[in-house]
Amino acid sequence: MERSHFLAKLIGPVCIAGGLGMLFNTTVYRAMFERALHDHMFIYLSGVIALPIGLAIVILHNDWKWHWPLIITVFGWLAVIGGLVRMIAPQVIESYGLSLLSSPNFFVIDGGVAVLLGVLLSYFGYLDPPQPAGRRSSLRRRR
């Protein structure tokens, strides 16, 4: 199985679930984020998990071609950078996150983007499976 498709199968549904939660469960999500942002230990722990996941993605999938797998590469690098900042300076995440939360439309915009990205990745991961190598080369020859 091609790596991009496999990673899209994992990341896509997580983005959809998180985005739907942000869109339809805004009150609970706001309370949850406010509480999490005041807890430096929690921010640090999320960084400890985000950093190895991001590193795994960018080591296995550092594809910068202008094609849909670019979303996964960017996602991986954002996880690496986000994980590093969370571990090195949790207070930066606290102040930045609280300023984002003060915007009334944050959850609508962020949830909408997450759902869109998730649907896109799930589509490519589950509904557009990689072509076998033989078939791909025969298609290319036909073109």
């Binding site: 496999f6 199968k9 994992l10 549904p13 997580v14 679930a17 998180g18 739907l20 939660g21 339809f24 469960n25 609970v28 309370a31 949850m32 984020f33 509480r35 999490a36 807890d39 929690f42 722990l45 999320s46 998990i49």
Partner: protein, 136 residues
Amino acid sequence: MPAKGQDTMQQSLTIARLIGPVLTAIGIGMLANEAVYRQMAMQFLSGYPFIYFSGILALVAGLYIINVHNIWTRDWRSLITAIGWIITCIGTFRILAPQFAIFVGGSIVATSGFFICAGAILLCLGGFITFKGYVA
């Protein structure tokens, strides 16, 4: 090059070697350390962030299992697939509605014999999967 059947069996064994000991350890912990586990569960259920966070981890782990191992044969390997689906459903539920996870979890934890029953089930399940993964 190994045949496809051998390949899927190898995947089943790898996942069993990871899941089995984890389930066994949780089961033993629940049985031997019930009071601490109850307190820990109460603390876990007292706020949304940990529920949400555990939901993300559970969803990723569940999706990984069902994507690399969606095997429904009439043997122990179906157990791993079923565990993958259960973890996926739990993860989705925790992300979409953490408040319902608190509601459901709170009523389950309040049941007096929950940790003994769950511990015994997890110990049996984990022991069986560990046996299949490492010994059989």
